[in-house]
C-alpha cells in the first residue's frame, strides 16, 4: 500500500486473478489423475463424467454471472440459448453428415448470440422482476418451439432419432481430425474451454468494459451520467452471455450425442441462475464454484448412506430423501454464505490465515467487556 501508483497498476492488470486462473487450470487438469485413485464404489459416482457436465454448465454460468452478477440484469431463460446452441450444431451435423462439427459449434454460438441480440434489444428495457418474467417467457417460447417444430428439431423425440437422418447419433466433436469421443478427452476439451472463457471473463471484468458493467449494476442512473451507454452495454453483455450459453449447449450436444427438449426446460434455467447465486453473484469464481457444488451435490447426497457404517446395501435408493436434503442444503448455503460459496470460501481462507489472531484478540476483549 506504500505506493498506490504502483500497486494500482498491478491490481489493474488483474495479476492476482491471472495467478488464480493458472492454479485453477493446473488443479482442474489433474482431476482425472486423482479421480482414478478414488475407487468408484466409495464415491458411488463417475467423477470424470460429472465433471464434463460441470464444465459444460460452467460455460453457461460464467456468462450468466457476467450478466447477473456484474451487469445486474436477470435472465430466467438461459436454457433457451443453451438449447439453441445444442440444436444448431446437432441439426447441422446430423442432417449433413459432411458438416464439420467444429463449424457446427461455431454456428451454434453465433446463432445463440444473434437471437440474444434480437430479443435482448427490446426486452432489456425491462427491469427486475419484469425482466425476469420476460426472459422466463422467452425460455418457455423457445422450449415450445423445440417441441413443436418437428421438421426442424425432431420434436419430442429429439435429434437424431426424430429426424429422418441416417446417423444414429450426433457425431462426436472432432477438430483437425482429432475426435473427442471419450469422457476423458471431452473433459480436457470442456475444461480447456472453461479456462479460456475465464481468461476472457477476467480480461473484461478488469477493464473499461467491466467497470462500465459494474457501474451499471450499482446505479444505472449514475453510470448513464458518467457516460456509460447503459442500453448498449446491457445488450452486449446479454449477447455475450447468450453466446457462452450457446457454446455450452453445442458442447452438450456433442458430448451427449442425443438431445431432446427435456434438457432445455424452465427448471434448467432456474438451475443456472441458482448456480450463479449459490456460487457467488459478481464473484469471478462464483459461477464455477456454484456449478461444481450443485452438479456434485445430488451425487454426494446419493452416496451418503454408503458412508454410514453398517447401512444395508438395499438402501442405495435414496431418491425421495435426497431431494429433501438438497433443498435444505440449498437453503443452508444461502443462509450461511449469502454472498455465495466462492466469497464464503475466500473469506474463510482469509479468516483462518490472517484474522485468526485478530479474532482471538477481539474475543478476549469481549470477555473483559462482559465482566
Amino acid at each position: 500500500m506504500s505506493d498506490p501508483m504502483k500497486a494500482g497498476k498491478t491490481a489493474l492488470g488483474g495479476g492476482k486473478e491471472y495467478r488464480t486462473l493458472l492454479i485453477f487450470a493446473v488443479a482442474v487438469f489433474i482431476v482425472p489423475a486423482w479421480a482414478t485413485f478414488i475407487p468408484g464404489d466409495v464415491l458411488h459416482m463417475d467423477i470424470v463424467n460429472i465433471m464434463v457436465f460441470a464444465g459444460i454448465y460452467s460455460c453457461v454460468v460464467i456468462g450468466l454471472n457476467l450478466l447477473v452478477g456484474y451487469a445486474g440484469q436477470i435472465s430466467l431463460g438461459h436454457a433457451a440459448f443453451f438449447g439453441v446452441g445444442a440444436y444448431t450444431t446437432a441439426i447441422l451435423c446430423t442432417r449433413f453428415s459432411w458438416f464439420p462439427t467444429w463449424l457446427g459449434v461455431l454456428a451454434g454460438v453465433l446463432l445463440a448470440g444473434a437471437i440474444g441480440w434480437l430479443v435482448g434489444v427490446p426486452v432489456l428495457r425491462l427491469k427486475g422482476h419484469y425482466l425476469a418474467m420476460a426472459t422466463l417467457g422467452l425460455g418457455e417460447i423457445a422450449f415450445i418451439l423445440f417441441t413443436q417444430l418437428k421438421w426442424l428439431t425432431g420434436g419430442t423425440i429429439g435429434v437424431p432419432q426424430g429426424l429422418n437422418v441416417s446417423v444414429a447419433e450426433i457425431p462426436s466433436l472432432s477438430v483437425f481430425g482429432f475426435r473427442f469421443d471419450t469422457d476423458i478427452k471431452f473433459f480436457f476439451l470442456a475444461w480447456g474451454i472453461v479456462v479460456l472463457l475465464m481468461l476472457l471473463n477476467i480480461n473484461i471484468i478488469k477493464s473499461r468494459v467491466g467497470r462500465g458493467l459494474r457501474a451499471l449494476h450499482s446505479s444505472e442512473v449514475a453510470a448513464d451520467a458518467m457516460g456509460v451507454d447503459t442500453a448498449r452495454y446491457k445488450t452486449r453483455v446479454f449477447v455475450l452471455s447468450a453466446m457462452f450459453a450457446g457454446l455450452g449447449g453445442a458442447l452438450f450436444a456433442h458430448f451427449q450425442r442425443y438431445i431432446n427438449p427435456e434438457s432445455f426446460v424452465f427448471s434448467v434455467s432456474i438451475l443456472f441462475i441458482t448456480m450463479v447465486v449459490v456460487g457467488g453473484m459478481g464473484n469471478l469464481w462464483g459461477g464455477i464454484v456454484g456449478v461444481i457444488v450443485l452438479t456434485f451435490l445430488p451425487s454426494v447426497i446419493q452416496a451418503l448412506p454408503q458412508w454410514i457404517p453398517g447401512i444395508p446395501e438395499s438402501l442405495t435408493n435414496f431418491s425421495n430423501y435426497s431431494l429433501v436434503l438438497y433443498g435444505i442444503l440449498l437453503i443452508l448455503f444461502m443462509m450461511f454464505m449469502p454472498q455465495g460459496i466462492a466469497a464464503g470460501l475466500s473469506r474463510g481462507l482469509a479468516f483462518t490465515q490472517k484474522r485468526g489472531r485478530r479474532l482471538r484478540d477481539r474475543f478476549e476483549a469481549r470477555k473483559y467487556e462482559g465482566h
Partner: protein
C-alpha cells in the same frame, strides 16, 4: 444493491394511450371470438375465466409477499399443492367433513408458512432479495420432495364441493366448482385489497417494503410485516389449492405449474396489486383458451407468453401495477 430495482415509471400520456389501446384490443379479440365462433367462442371465454381464476388465486399469494417484502416466493405454488394434498388426506381419505378438512389443511399450511418464514427468511432479512429468492427455491424443492415422500407420485382427486353436473347457459357448459373458484378469487381479492389499503397494519406493511422508517412510525416492523405476509400468503395459497383441486386434481409436483402460471399472472397484472393479480390471472386464462382454440393447440402457451412479453414492453409495470418513482 439495486439488483431487483423496480421500474422508474414515466407513465405519460403515450403510455396511457397504449394501455387504453391494448384494452380495446383485448375487447376486440373477445368480441371477434364471440362473433366468429358463437357459442364455441363463448365456451372458450367461460373456460378461460375458470382457468384464469385459478391463476389469479395463486397470483394473489405472490402479490401479498411481494407488496410487503419485494420477494418473489417461488414456493407459493407448493403451498397450494400442500393444501390440496392435505385436504385429500384429511377429508377424502381421513373422512373428516370437508369444511373441517378445509380448516385443518389451511391451518397446517399456514403454520408451515409461518414457521418457514421464521426459520429461513427472517434470519436473512438484511440480505439481498435475490438471496432470499434462491432460499424460496430451496424451500420449494424441499416441500415438493417431502410431499412426494408422503403421498407418492400419483395425482389425487378431491370431490367437488357441489357436484359435477354441468350448468349450461348460452351454449356454454360450466362445472359448479368453477363458480366456487371464481367466487373465492373475488372474495380473496377484496379481503386482500381491503387489508392492504384500508387497515393500518396493511398500509404499514406496504410501507415496510419501501421504507422501514415510515413503517415503524405506524408500529409495523419489517420483520413482523414479513411474518404476516408469509402467513397470509400460505393461507391464501393453501385455500386456493383446496378450492381448485376438484378441477385441477392435486399432486406432489403440481406446485411448479401453479407457481409458474401464478407468477406470470401476477406480473401481467402488476406485481403487488391485488386487483392486478385477478385481472392478470383472468387475462392470462382467457388468452390461453382462446389461443388454444384459434391456433394449433401446441402453440397456445407460446402465444400466451408472447402476448405477455408484448404487454410488458408496452407497459413495463404490468396492467394495473403502479409505476413507482424512484427518486434519482
Amino acid at each position: 444493491m439495486e439488483y431487483w430495482e423496480f421500474h422508474v415509471g414515466r407513465a405519460d400520456r403515450r403510455q396511457r394511450a397504449l394501455l387504453v389501446g391494448s384494452a380495446v384490443f383485448v375487447g376486440l379479440v373477445i368480441a371477434a371470438t364471440l362473433i366468429s365462433k358463437g357459442s364455441t367462442g363463448f365456451q372458450w371465454i367461460v373456460s378461460g375465466i375458470t382457468v384464469g381464476s385459478i391463476y389469479a388465486l395463486i397470483a394473489m399469494g405472490f402479490s401479498v409477499i411481494y407488496s410487503s417484502t419485494r420477494v418473489i416466493n417461488f414456493a407459493q405454488g407448493e403451498f397450494s399443492m400442500l393444501g390440496g394434498m392435505l385436504m385429500y388426506s384429511l377429508s377424502t381419505r381421513g373422512g373428516l367433513p370437508p369444511w373441517l378438512g378445509f380448516i385443518f389443511s389451511v391451518l397446517i399450511v399456514t403454520a408451515i408458512g409461518a414457521a418457514l418464514e421464521r426459520l429461513t427468511i427472517h434470519p436473512m432479512r438484511d440480505q439481498s432479495v435475490i438471496t432470499i429468492i434462491i432460499i424460496t427455491i430451496g424451500i420449494a424443492i424441499a416441500l415438493r420432495a417431502v410431499a412426494k415422500w408422503i403421498w407418492g407420485t400419483d395425482p389425487v382427486k378431491i370431490a367437488s364441493f357441489s357436484g359435477d353436473s354441468p350448468i349450461r347457459f348460452l351454449g356454454a357448459a360450466v362445472v359448479p366448482q368453477s363458480f366456487w373458484v371464481f367466487g373465492f378469487a373475488i372474495v380473496v381479492v377484496i379481503l386482500v385489497f381491503l387489508f392492504f389499503n384500508r387497515t393500518l397494519l396493511g398500509k404499514g406493511m406496504r410501507a415496510a417494503a419501501t421504507n422501514s422508517d415510515a413503517a415503524s412510525l405506524v408500529g409495523v416492523s419489517s420483520s413482523t410485516s414479513s411474518l404476516i405476509a408469509w402467513t397470509i400468503a400460505a393461507a391464501v395459497g393453501a385455500a386456493a389449492g383446496i378450492v381448485i383441486a376438484p378441477i385441477n386434481f392435486a399432486g406432489y409436483n403440481f406446485g411448479i405449474m401453479l407457481g409458474l402460471k401464478g407468477f406470470t399472472a401476477a406480473v401481467l397484472g402488476g406485481l403487488g396489486s391485488a386487483p392486478g393479480a385477478v385481472v392478470g390471472g383472468l387475462v392470462l386464462g382467457v388468452l390461453e383458451t382462446i389461443t388454444a382454440g384459434v391456433f394449433p393447440s401446441g402453440y397456445k402457451d407460446a402465444v400466451a407468453f408472447l402476448i405477455l412479453i408484448l404487454v410488458l414492453l408496452i407497459r413495463p409495470q404490468g396492467l394495473l401495477g403502479r409505476a413507482e418513482d424512484v427518486k434519482v
